[in-house]
């Protein structure tokens, strides 16, 4: 019974932890402009993140080495250093987006200006990183993030024409009003939102933080293979809500307040409140993960002591890195840049940076030096190579598409 509870908890945390500000914004924007015609990208992204996360979790558990340690070992100091610079910058961009997301969500809950919420949100993130136990942190954020199920409830309450929704999705039929390049730009963005590199830094380092064993490996596989697809369903529900309410009204999503309007229409103030709490939790959880990832990547590249399971004084440089990253994020937000814009940038650049983490993990997962008998099987490798192609194509196409479409405008 207790074991079953543990499995359930793990799955629920994985679902709640799947959606972050990137998924939220990108799915809503896409839903309001393209209906469900990009749902196939979510499916591709979810399968990809399942593959990628389970591979990096397995590598971390078997070899005891987290992702960026492996990148440094396999690529050497120079290539890994360039990789670190890119990964750290994009991770910082994502952290900025998440902290901004918390502030926007709290603004919706309180009507206090987001600018006042930004320092408060960052301070709260730091306090949790400084003080709260890793498992508690992960489970609370994940379970509260589960409240985003409100989007699914809203979709049912809206009672849409399901046949019409399916027609938009299969075969994908983009609205005639949008340009082809814009369609593919958002396809890349959606892919980047589902397969964000920070998730992998966090996931593999978390495996080390929690001292995974062979037993945990099996549980982890269940968490990923069940939790992430269900989390992907939440993404689709967000897009569908926008497609049902906002698309016919001619509303293009450009702010968080628009994303929750379909929920209000469907479920009134109660469901709205539930979803807002869910958004706060999801962005807060993701802010924790991205802040940790900034510490993980730098510490692992330079061989510093890291980990939340240590006393902060025993991982001094790691904790200092996270503080600096949070301060930088607050600084960027205080220039009154729109967090939604930052989010849209962060998911596109995530797609650009993805091969940098994906390739080393794929290679090491096949190296018996590290993995012994736990190397990738044939099926995983076949899928792995397919995704290698997808990941590289998305990365190469991202910037040209961004320039060609004026960032999707």
């Amino acid at each position: 019974m207790k074991k079953l509870l543990g499995v359930a908890l793990g799955i629920l945390t994985a679902i709640g932890g799947f959606v972050d500000i990137g998924d939220l914004v990108t799915n809503a924007v896409v839903g309001s402009r393209f209906g469900l015609s990009l749902v196939w990208v979510v499916v591709v992204g979810v399968v990809g993140i399942c593959l990628f996360a389970s591979m990096s979790g397995r590598v971390a558990a078997v070899s005891g080495r987290a992702t960026f340690e492996i990148i440094r070992e396999r690529l050497g100091p120079r290539a890994a250093g360039a990789n670190l610079a890119a990964s750290f910058a994009i991770n910082l961009l994502t952290l900025t987006a998440e902290v901004g997301g918390i502030a926007l969500a709290l603004h919706l809950a309180s009507s206090v200006e987001p600018r006042l919420w930004i320092p408060v949100a960052a301070l709260a993130v730091w306090l949790v990183l400084w003080r709260v136990k890793f498992e508690v942190m992960e489970n609370v954020a994940g379970l509260l993030g589960l409240l985003l199920v409100g989007f699914g409830v809203a979709l049912f309450l809206l009672g849409p024409d399901w046949g019409e929704l399916v027609r938009q999705a299969v075969p994908p039929s983009p609205p005639a009003t949008e340009h082809v390049a814009t369609y593919w730009y958002y396809a890349v963005a959606l892919f980047g939102a589902a397969m964000t590199p920070y998730e992998v830094f966090f996931f593999s380092s978390g495996a080390v933080e929690e001292g995974w064993t062979a037993k945990d490996l099996a549980q982890n596989r269940v968490n990923v293979l069940v939790g992430f697809p269900l989390g992907g369903l939440l993404s689709v529900a967000i897009a569908a809500c926008a497609a049902v309410v906002l698309l016919p009204a001619g509303i293009e999503v450009s702010s968080l307040s628009q994303i929750v309007l379909p929920v209000a229409q469907a479920g009134g103030t109660l469901l709205l409140a539930v979803v807002i709490v869910g958004i706060v939790a999801a962005t807060f959880g993701a802010a924790l993960e991205t802040a940790l990832s900034s510490g993980y990547t730098l510490a692992q590249y330079l061989g510093w002591s890291w980990g939340k399971f240590r006393r902060p004084a025993r991982a001094a440089r790691f904790h200092l890195t996270m503080v600096v990253a949070l301060l930088l994020a607050v600084g960027i937000l205080m220039t009154s840049v729109d967090p939604v814009t930052v989010t849209e940038m962060s998911v596109v650049f995530s797609a650009v940076a993805l091969p940098l983490t994906y390739v080393p993990i794929l290679l090491v997962a096949n190296d018996p030096e590290y993995m012994g008998e736990h190397v990738n099987g044939r099926v995983t490798n076949a899928l792995g190579m397919v995704y290698l192609v997808i990941v590289v194509v998305a990365a190469v196409a991202a910037i040209p598409l961004m320039i060609a479409t004026g960032a999707g405008s």
Partner: protein, 132 residues
């Protein structure tokens, strides 16, 4: 001397002819058995999933065996040309193809190490680069 002096240095034969680049330096690690300083860790078998972690031989001195010379330069190697790893197809196969002809020169046959250049002694030997 540091390893950085040798790695990526050009390799010239005794007559000054270009042979390739130093891609790695081979070492022989002494292993001292049964000298595990932390034997009482009950979880080790459960935690250690790989042979690498499970193996607890203490290492002693690390003697320099020789330098590995590839006719081609550059690119992170990943050691595919020295191991039998074949997955994920086709990455190891391509790397192996590119670095075909990598050989091991015993350290005794290295005559001089200058800035960015290694010169081999007359009658130097070329041995198989594969890891045993």
């Amino acid at each position: 001397m540091i390893l950085g002096d040798l790695l990526d240095a050009r390799v010239r034969g005794p007559g000054g002819e270009h042979l390739g680049t130093v891609v790695d330096v081979r070492l022989a690690l002494e292993t001292l058995r049964g000298d595990d300083p932390s034997p009482d860790d009950p979880d080790r078998e459960a935690r250690a999933l790989s042979a690498q972690v499970r193996r607890r031989d203490r290492v002693g001195r690390a003697r320099v065996v020789g330098i590995l010379v590839s006719p081609r330069s550059g690119a992170p190697l990943l050691g595919y040309e020295r191991t039998g790893v074949t997955a994920p197809w086709p990455v190891p196969q391509l790397v192996r193809r590119r670095h075909r002809g990598t050989f091991l020169v015993p350290w005794e046959d290295v005559a001089a190490v200058g800035p960015g250049e290694v010169r081999l002694a007359a009658g130097y030997r070329q041995e198989d680069a594969a890891l045993p």
